[in-house]
Symmetry: C2
Subunit: 393 residues, 2 copies
């Protein structure tokens, strides 16, 4: 089957942008992606578009895909919306890979968009709740912070050396990185004291253990091996793709201290890429809550079970560590506009692999991974990207 490549990618700022619409956000992300293509890009070449979006009443609930792609002149192009809660646009990128590998498309726009900041907090709670399990989580009052708090409690209970301070370490690291990212929603540093002393949201998770509610959009341009040469001579190959689902409700799973869908998606992506976690130069993982970053380290094989706290203590996942994680700032600092998050991770991977990540550049980045989770692990999708020129050395 034909390989798929990222030839360009971009995103908007993530943040609270009440002056923007879902269409204007998508347009900015698309234009930034187009501008990033080394040898130029013309929308006429687009064969297909896939848009990740969770959606909300009051805007374009049906057909948000065509509604944003028409706005950038892509009406006519086959377009659909893909949704897997917070993993929507990670799945959009995966769908683009399938479209390319199927031979049905040579150039695919895979992106995502979400507008969240203009809702009342009641609506936000409701809306986010419905991506958890409906009957037994949301209707009993369990918000997402509550679901992840249960995972954090179970983790801290299970591993004696793990403490809430390790959750704060992840936050401090991600804010340090996000402070170097001009697109970040919360692009400021925080001290360990601040991160430890923040008000509790859902015990043991405090405010610094929770990502913000963001507006934003992101777009990756995916091309087949047959046409990639028209756009760049330094392409980023999508070497591995993996995805899995799981029971939507946390309470229906055997283990709260692992996200089985992430582990399965990671294994599939590594197998397709023919590499293991030791061969990664960086990773962007889904840290919607700090505990999620620790679980991701273990689910994706960066360390063994119960060892994530040691990686953080030793600075292994810092920007200058052995395996920098969330150089972008992650969901915690960069922000988390649901439908835009997965393709935003891909945009970060593209920037890192093409040496355009500025102050947060990972030195010598030649291979990286993105990890995007829907709900509390009801869906997960993992990609492995390689800068072909570098890994061929």
């Amino acid at each position: 089957m034909r390989d798929a490549y990222v030839i360009g990618a971009g995103q908007t700022d993530f943040g609270a942008m009440p002056e923007e619409s879902y269409r204007s956000l998508f347009e900015t992300a698309y234009e930034n992606a187009v501008d990033s293509v080394p040898d130029g890009f013309d929308g006429e070449a687009v064969d297909e578009a896939v848009v990740g979006n969770l959606g909300v009443g009051g805007r374009q609930l049906g057909l948000p895909g065509p509604a944003v792609t028409e706005h950038v002149g892509l009406h006519g192009v086959p377009c659909s919306r893909v949704e897997n809660a917070c993993a929507a646009s990670g799945y959009a990128v995966r769908q683009a890979v399938q479209a390319v590998r199927s031979g049905m498309a040579d150039v695919v726009v895979a992106g995502g968009v979400e507008v969240m900041s203009d809702m009342s907090s009641d609506v936000t709670k409701y809306w986010l709740g419905v991506s958890g399990e409906t009957e037994w989580e949301r209707l009993t009052g369990t918000t997402f912070a509550g679901v992840y708090a249960q995972m954090a409690s179970a983790y801290l209970d299970r591993y004696d050396d793990a403490t809430a301070d390790h959750l704060s370490m992840a936050a401090v690291k991600n804010h340090a990185n996000g402070a170097k990212n001009p697109h970040a929603h919360l692009g400021f540093e925080c001290s360990m004291d601040q991160a430890v002393g923040a008000p509790i949201v859902a015990d043991p998770l405090n405010l610094y253990h929770c990502c913000p509610t963001s507006d934003g959009a992101s777009v990756a341009l995916v091309a087949s091996e047959d046409v990639v040469g028209e756009y760049t001579d330094d392409p980023v190959r999508i070497a591995g793709v993996g995805a899995a689902s799981d029971r939507v409700g946390l309470f229906q799973r055997d283990d709260y201290t692992a996200v089985e869908a992430s582990a399965r998606a990671g294994e599939a992506a590594y197998e397709m890429a023919g590499v293991g976690p030791d061969e990664l130069d960086f990773a962007e993982v889904h840290d919607c809550f700090a505990i999620a970053e620790l679980l991701a380290y273990e689910d994706l094989g960066f360390c063994g079970r119960g060892e994530a706290p040691y990686l953080l203590e030793e600075g292994e996942t810092d920007l200058d560590g052995d395996l920098p994680v969330n150089a972008s700032g992650g969901l915690k600092s960069k922000g988390h506009p649901i439908g835009a998050t997965g393709a935003g991770q891909v945009a970060e991977a593209f920037k890192q692999l093409t040496g355009q990540a500025g102050e947060r550049q990972v030195e010598g980045a030649a291979r990286g991974l993105t990890h995007n989770v829907g709900g509390s692990g009801g869906a997960a999708v993992v990609h492995v990207f390689e800068r072909e020129r570098e890994v061929a050395r």
Copy 2:
């Protein structure tokens, strides 16, 4: 690229079923699909699932895909929801074809589900409205009946021989067929007098020119050519797939008397299948409103522009005509549970091609087409199916 086949397909009854949930509906459709596989089917073989759903607040807004597939024991399998308003599960089937052709899956569950009947009519109006263009259609009070009424008005104005009676003829035909379909929501015949004399909904469309609001689910099981022989020796090949988008708002299109997305999707499907409309034995088209059926005849090349009324007058699209259209009863009589409609058309095509359509069987059906539209034509998807044993003669 590898060919994709339908090895089984099924649906629930379409109708008002307040005692059912979105999960129980999906389960019934899945079980019916599994039971239809000639040589048996085991869920263990499933590599991927795609679920079409428009969704609505109050149920599983995020992750409805994994929420229904876990219910039938498919947790673990990569699963996503695809949404293109009323074309959601037509696109789900297309995505299954891409998954198979990409080499990333051998067996894919492609289905759809919608629960609509337990909402107040206010909510239904709101909900359906948001699949039209939001700012300039819905917020100005234009419901879907209103949008299609504008298309009908333009059509009747443009073609002198076309009258509202032709709209009623489509309704009478589809009710005659639906009366033969045990799954139909409105499975009763109607006379021409009834169809002409019904109360106006949005002039010129009357009650018999509008499809009902239905609950239901449908599932198609899609397999690659590499494994199809394990399931059946009489497979239905997905010979052609075409899709297109268009401007979501009708007011932004040049022509109200054609659905450009349908025409483009049809052309692409015919080209891939290597056949033309003359070589079809039957078609299931998207008759959400009667005018949509007339436009589909023309968009899909069953006749020239302005000639749809003659096809109806001459009975060409009757069950015993040259090209039976909507033998199932169509959206008008069989029903229209948004996310389930497209895969429901595929289930009908499977039944027709495998000679299991009972009283509504199209004699000698060897090749058929399905046509599924989102919104007022913001998205469209067309498939051409062939019973391989028959067309190889």
